[in-house]
Amino acid sequence: MKRETIERLAMDRALGELNEDAATLFETYLAEHAEARQWAEPMTQTCIRTRQAIAQKTQPSSAQLAPPKPFRVDWSALARWAAVIAVAAILGAAIGRRSAPSPTPEPETVIVRTVPRQAGAEGWRRVLGETEEGFWQTKAVAMLQSQPREVQRSTESGPSLWDRYRQFRKERSREKVY
């Protein structure tokens, strides 16, 4: 056989394109003809190495390809999500109802009665007794201490720090006056 024929047959055999009978015949021929073997070998090697080189380049990347998942509606997953959302909504509503302020807040009036000190009368008498208006002053202070005061506590907004300071100053000045 000619060199080209040998090479082509070698190529066909390396690529698996020869049927079994033809491959056996070709093997027998090569075994008997050393020169034909020398021609066939380089072609076989070229086929093998070309396949390896291309596989080395392309296979790692193509192996990364994952088959696409066809879009399907997963009803069980949807039901699970719906249940989670419903539970979250119920919990949220319950927590919100507990933490919300009462719908109609009414200002409550608290009567604060200043209890005179145990030794109030005597104490005052001791302090103010030496002054000219000792009796009247003592009586006025005692009346002031026992007088009930009304403090309006509003839920809307409490007195500011400035208001409380002014009230404190007013009381102090009143005490000084008496």
């Binding site: 190529m11 066909d12 394109e17 072609m43 080189a53 291309i54 596989a55 990347s61 066809p70």
Partner: protein, 167 residues
Amino acid sequence: MARTFQTEFDQFWRQTCGKVRAYMFCASNSASDADDLAQECYLRAFRNWDRFDERGSRQAWLFAIARNTQTDWFRKRGRDARVLERSLVERASEASPPELDDAEALWRAIGRLTAEHREIVHLRFGADLSYDEIARTLNVPVGTVRSRLHRALKAIREQMEEVRNET
């Protein structure tokens, strides 16, 4: 009906995606480009699924689409067949570094082949198509496929011998 088609296409995709991507990679030498090309190819196949003649090979039909996809894609990117060929030759002709391994040298040798020979090598070794499938894809006789492949492999061998002699 739609479900059957979906399953059929999915199965076909699983069978051929590796081959198509390898074929695209051989042509573009880029993983991302190969992915784009393969995706475009399957999109076209999906759209034209009903236009396939059942007497032929579905795989050969797909690779005919793949070829057209390659051509259109490179043209769209301003790289027509000639430019692509030139770039491949230039890339292949770059001075080979001494540590270049055998596989890389062979890859470059493939890049130096003519477009006709390179394509047949890509279809045979990249896409792993049989002679018959290549013949159907390229619409040429099987004998032509054999002779082209033989010449291509011979050219690769000669170039590899040159490289070996240079080093």
